[in-house]
Amino acid sequence: MAHPAPGHHAHRPELSHQFETVEQQREAGTLGMWLFLATEILFFGGMFTSYLIYRSLHPQAFVIGSHLLEVKFGATNTAVLICSSLTMAMAIYSAQTGKSKARIITFLVITMLFGLAFLGIKFYFEWYHDYLNLIVPGVAWKYQAGWGTHGPVVQMFMVFYFVMTGVHALHMIVGLGILTVLIVMTARGRFGPTYSAPLDISGLYWHFVDIIWIFLFPLLYLIGGRYTTGGH
């Protein structure tokens, strides 16, 4: 088989010099993203593990802490993120099936708007009101009388809440940056049925960040049988 000499294989502008074919480049990028997501699982895994250990040690305090959160905002945000995953997938599908640039960009912009909506709800309706209600550990905090001896562990629950959702929100912000780049690349006509690797790979990241939230939502908001009787 013939292997083109260095410098003679640049007939496709998206092909980096270290690769032989666009297919090889796409496979490398995809594997790289899956490996990155594996590191992310371990990164969040440290927090999930710690959460599970302390929740099994202090179940009641964690329930009290969970009840400080507003389920309606968590549920809304879950719906918002699932919708954003759908529009992300539709953007990728549009590129792969050769739809117009405008269509791809529309889906990407809608995905961004969902992402911004998520952050808006998280920052304003949740964190800002937590701040006003004095339940932000280390920043604005006041022990409430009803907690009794559980007070310190309730604070620990809120530390988990802010660290885990904070790191997740940081990933959302990075995702919005990636989406911005993708919109610019789409506008320049880089994507089509023969080449959509950056879209595919970024989609993996976006879906992963959603999935993290799918785990965070029940663990943080829904424990303690809030809507059933005798759950705890």
Binding site: Q24, E27, G46, P152, V153, Q155, V159
Partner: protein, 546 residues
Amino acid sequence: MSTVVAELPQAPSESRPNYLTANYGLKSWLLTTDHKRIALLYLVSITFMFAVGGIAAVMMRIQLIQPQGAIVEPETYNKLFSIHGIVMVFFFLVPSIPATLGNFLIPMMIGARDVAFPKLNLLSWYLYITGSLVLLWAILSGGVDTGWTFYPPYSSTYSHTHVVAAGMAIFIAGFSSILTGLNFIVTIHKMRAPGMTWFRMPLFLWSMYATSIIFILGTPVVAITLFLMVLERLFHVGIFDPAVGGDPLLFQHLFWFYSHPAVYIMILPGMGVVSELITAFSKKRVFGYTAIAYSSMAIALLSFLVWGHHMFVTGQSVYTSLIFSVLSFAVAIPSAIKVFNWTATLYKGSISYEAPMLYALGFIGLFTMGGLTGLFLASLSTDVHLNGTYFIVAHFHYIMVGGAVMAFMGGIHYWWPKMTGRLYPDLWARLAAMIIFIGFNLTFFPQFVMGYLGMPRRYAVYPPEFQTLNVMSSAGASILGVGYVIPLIYLIWSFFYGPAAGPNPFGATGLEWKTPSPPPTENFEEIPVVTEEAYNYPGKKAVVGV
């Protein structure tokens, strides 16, 4: 100027620009995406950090010449051993072989033009540099005194030193490791030249692959752990503080979940280097190729299952300790497989004793001692006696210095002619290797004895009966220091004035020796097609059917 060049007849292929002469200027280095240049950037940076950690070690050994402490206050001594540990573990040993030799060699050994993600590779170096600068700032503005392990509640509550900066430095440098590991795995999976099957790959690549798995699975855990510790310190809230229902032992579990595998991040690349050196200087096919390859993967797997042996005396459940003890013993199996296979490779080989081979032989002996003394510490009852003493210090220095640093030095000497295109004075190199071997043993063997006799680690003062052993250790350290300075001098000389090496000065096999030294920027004139295994040395062929 350019017009003059254009009129010249085409230059002969020998004088084509190589990766060092392809372009000039600081910018061409700081913005390079060439894996070979990035390897040299790492080599310079980690050598500097090695010197920083080394200076701390020198001051510790001077302090311990006298029982009451020779030069510094105990508080300063605490900072010295902390700085020594943090710098040497996170900023020298972890990146040492992967980021220099791994970066340089992985694409060349698999017949690729570069790693899969060259820009990410450069970003890794910048993350490493950022982490290093933050750490150097922390050291210069007062230091840190928690030890390299950062155990809370001391680190999160009581220490009055720069714990936050040091923790964040490791956090940042950790992402350098993660991205390097990710890059290597993708490169080895997707960038191999036609015909380069998994079992034709040099064993160095198997060890780098195993190391990279630990990089990407272990490092994120220590990153989040240190992040949580820093949060606890900054905001006085947290999950390791017993006052709020937390458990300091959880920190230790999470910390060692990374930091024990990190030991294999340090030693696995060394094992890979030694596999190359032993075959190259025995001029013989490596014995038990598949066993060595699989043992690297087995070590990577087991490395994640033994962290609890650091916590036998912490109040961990005895049943947990039993399991961790058994699993720790199991690590001895793949390690021994390697040692036996290297030894079998030497058998009836045409052995020559160039400097890299001296390091490799030193590695085998010292690593074996370090490994066997590890079994003392994996046994529950002996660990109670030896934990927290100089026996531990001696044990892990036999692995990390006697193993990892010896392999690093051997690898640098072996591939130096390829990296720079120049030879170094062989006599000086052999002399330095011998000095390092002697100095190392004089430094650390007495520490086994003093540890067994009960001298605790991390103490700035000690009872007078340990003075003889401590003076021996300090004397050895001074010899070891000389041994490290000599190569620094002749290698720098060689870089500028050494005689030309030619493509393959050691007569070794492997793709990296088939290109000019130093290699051109694209490594190969055209992507090679591989038709044979890595260690196809001439000589006795296996006799079949007799």
